[in-house]
């Protein structure tokens, strides 16, 4: 721990030393269009280093809970379209969990064969209730929220359809809730069995389900990752209630404000009809009073009930008045404009009389209608949602992160228990993997934009940084773009982003770089992290797309297109070259730049040191990006094993 802290401090200090020099003393303003982006990218990386160092500052290795397991438990297996056999394998393993519990299959696909299989094993089977018809479904969060109201266990173990639980999973985790009654969440690692040593898709996340989660745990911000986690029902329900109240306060305030405006407008429009005018003015006054009452702390349900009654009575009077007027008009019609022509025996319509009728402000119906709409809007049951109470957050496609952050902001605690207690299946092809990563990144950026941890009330400084750190890391795609293009411009055209590749550069850059790598090595404790490092760079188009699409979604309400990760092997078809063209293009450009650079040195038109630095730089990028080619050729672990066997 001391070693980690020493290196953490050194990494940040050497980083500041380097980046400050880059800003103040080495910017090549002649090529500002690449020099400035590069130094911004380097500053981005320095902040990333700082956030990583902070994460590791007080990493927590837990021994396990002290208290014995206690409480009633429901095990939820969430499924949408996974094969019934796969879900049932998980369900049977869940049934065999040693601690007493009830097991439920939460089938969002509402499949009869899934229901039959679950019931045959004596397991609970839950699908969405009628309330959800024509309402936003909120994907997995909605599935879980629906089930929460059908069950009553004090604790909930959540498992994805492919995550086979260990029989001892509850024995090993429940005690944390008894140790501290503020604990709302215990997360265990996700581990994949269909991944071999090479793991070309980078599915195992040993750095995340290890040092990073332990680091976050130290700041009481271990993340909820959607599966293999136990949650306290009370904490989730409390979240749901608080969210309901907040939502109701907002929507009532908004509705009343709009109502006041609308009534004022209608009153002006109907000045010529005295009854209507005074009725609308009266209502407007009532709405204004309701607003004041609510801001003075009167309970919303009471105030809206009173207002409701007033509006209903007013519209009843108006409708009655309306009917009276219409009755009079009918008499008038009867008496005046329509006459039977005695000679022709046909109906003659008195055009003049009819015009008079039409221009009279006959019908206040429009006003009554808009008042009626107000009644509808002033509801306390969130009519736009299936359930007024939504315990799991629905502001993001990654409901897990958003929910955990809400829990933390309300003072609940979380635990990361570092022991593999469930084993699952990772995506087996590049396309599925890319979609999954995109969804994670999009969800994280949605939370970043909708409920920013830096501004969120109730979080500690450490928790803010832990959530922000994860969000910050998804901005890496933009930095990668700069890191990839700067050496191409140098090697091909001799464009210098720095004033010189001088001794100063090496003296400041090398310590920073080396200490950073060392910190990483110490933190990883022998875990192989190269795959993760490769993908951090190689998925740059995914990160960029996630940021832009999440921005378009949150700001311009454009749909993201929710993607369910396939767990049953691969999508067939040709090589998904279309999915990775940016990486392939980048690699081609880097190789061309490399050759050009060497030729330029041989011809004596380029600087040797600069070319060397940039060559090493390009080589690192190529080594990282090359994982995409491995991943493209990957045919899943089954094919991989066959090939190995078939080889002489």
């Amino acid at each position: 721990m001391i070693l980690i802290r020493v290196f953490a401090v050194l990494a940040v200090l050497t980083g500041i030393n380097y980046v400050a020099w880059r800003w103040l003393d080495s910017l090549n303003w002649d090529a500002w269009w690449i020099a400035v982006p590069l130094v911004i990218a380097e500053t981005y990386s320095l902040i990333d280093t700082f956030l990583f160092a902070t994460t590791m500052w007080r990493a927590k290795e837990r021994e396990g809970p002290e208290s014995p397991p206690a409480g009633t438990v429901d095990v939820f297996i969430t499924t949408y379209n996974e094969p019934v056999a796969m879900v049932m394998a998980t369900a049977r393993a869940a049934k065999n969990i040693a601690y007493p519990h009830e097991t439920f299959v939460l089938d969002d696909g509402n499949r009869p064969e899934m229901a039959a299989a679950a019931r045959a094993e004596g397991l609970g089977y839950i699908t969405r209730s009628e309330d959800w018809t024509d309402k936003p479904r909120h994907a997995k969060a909605g599935n879980l929220n629906n089930a929460l109201f059908e069950t009553d266990g004090e604790f909930l173990l959540i498992l994805d359809a492919d995550q086979i639980p260990d029989p001892l999973i509850l024995h090993r985790t429940l005690g944390y809730f008894a140790d501290d009654e503020q604990v709302a969440l215990v997360q265990t690692p996700q581990w994949f069995i269909n991944v071999d040593e090479a793991d070309p898709l980078g599915s195992q996340a040993p750095l995340f389900y290890g040092p990073i989660q332990q680091g976050k745990d130290g700041w009481n911000s271990a993340f909820f990752c959607g599966s293999n986690a136990v949650l306290r029902r009370e904490a989730l329900m409390q979240l749901g209630i608080v969210g309901y109240v907040r939502n109701l306060q907002d929507s009532t305030e908004r509705t009343l404000r709009a109502a006041e405006k609308l009534l004022a407008r209608e009153a002006r429009r109907n000045q010529s009809v005295p009854e209507l005018h005074s009725e609308l003015k009266e209502l407007r006054l009532k709405v204004a009073q309701a607003r004041t009452a609510i801001s003075d702390g009167e309970p919303i349900a009471d105030v809206t009930y009173g207002l409701h009654t007033a509006i209903n009575e007013a519209s009843r009077r108006l409708v009655k008045h309306d009917l009276d007027v219409m009755a009079e008009d009918l008499i008038a019609i009867h008496a005046l404009p329509v006459q039977r022509d005695a000679e022709l025996g046909a109906v003659v319509i008195d055009e003049v009389g009819l015009d008079a009728l039409a221009t009279r402000e006959l019908s206040p119906l429009a006003a009554v209608k808009s008042v009626g709409a107000l009644v509808d809007a002033l509801r306390v049951d969130r009519p736009d949602e299936a359930q007024p109470i939504q315990p799991l957050a629905t502001i993001s496609v990654t409901e897990d992160m958003a929910t955990a952050m809400q829990l933390h902001s309300m003072g609940w605690k979380s635990v990361y228990h570092h022991e593999i207690l469930a084993r699952g299946l990772a995506p087996e092809d590049l396309q599925t993997m890319l979609k999954q990563r995109l969804r994670w990144a999009q969800g994280t950026m949605q939370v970043f934009l909708r409920d920013n941890p830096l501004a969120k009330r109730g979080l500690s400084a450490g928790q803010r940084l832990m959530y922000f750190g994860t969000m910050w890391s998804y901005l890496a795609g933009f930095a990668a773009l700069v890191y990839l293009s700067a050496p191409v411009f140098y090697l091909s055209f001799g464009v210098m982003p720095v004033t010189a590749w001088s001794g100063d550069f090496f003296a400041r850059f090398l310590p920073y770089f080396l200490i950073n790598q060392l910190l990483f090595l110490i933190v990883a404790r022998g875990i192989r992290t190269w795959r993760g490092q490769q993908y951090a760079l190689a998925l740059f188009p995914v990160w960029i797309r996630a940021c832009t699409s999440a921005f378009a979604n949150v700001v311009f309400k454009k749909p993201l297109g929710f993607v369910v990760t396939r767990k049953d092997g691969r999508v067939g078809g040709a090589l998904p070259l279309r999915e990775v063209w940016p990486q392939l293009t980048a690699m081609a450009l880097l190789v061309i730049a490399l050759i050009t650079g060497i030729v330029r040195v041989l011809m004596g038109t380029a600087d040797g040191t600069g070319t060397l630095v940039n060559t090493v730089w390009v080589a690192y990028s190529l080594a990282s990006l090359s994982i995409v080619i491995q991943a493209l050729r990957y045919k899943g672990p089954a094919a991989h094993a066959e090939e190995a066997e078939g080889a002489p």
Binding site: E234, Y244, G297
Partner: protein, 110 residues
Amino acid sequence: MNLSVTTHAHHAVVSPEGRLTASGAPRIKQAIKKLIDEGHARIVVDLAQTEFIDSSGLGALIGGLKAARLAEGDLRLAAASDSVKSVLKLTSLDRVLRDYPTVDSAFSDD
């Protein structure tokens, strides 16, 4: 939790006794639904004998409020004990539902 239900001329009273938690929530929801189906949409939840309520219990009350309002009635709380009041405050549900001092006062205004 014990649950007793009484009906009166202008309203019905639901009285949960003991601990209103996740295990009691479905029963209170059903009781409210039954009352509404029978035409009693003005409901008072008498909390005088409710020793403790958790968020699942509150969830059931909100569910009841929704059902009552949809049936053109209302659901009101009365006579909450201090421990129940503290939960209402903690979850800020006291910003939505008033705790009337007595069952009789709950619908006295209309």
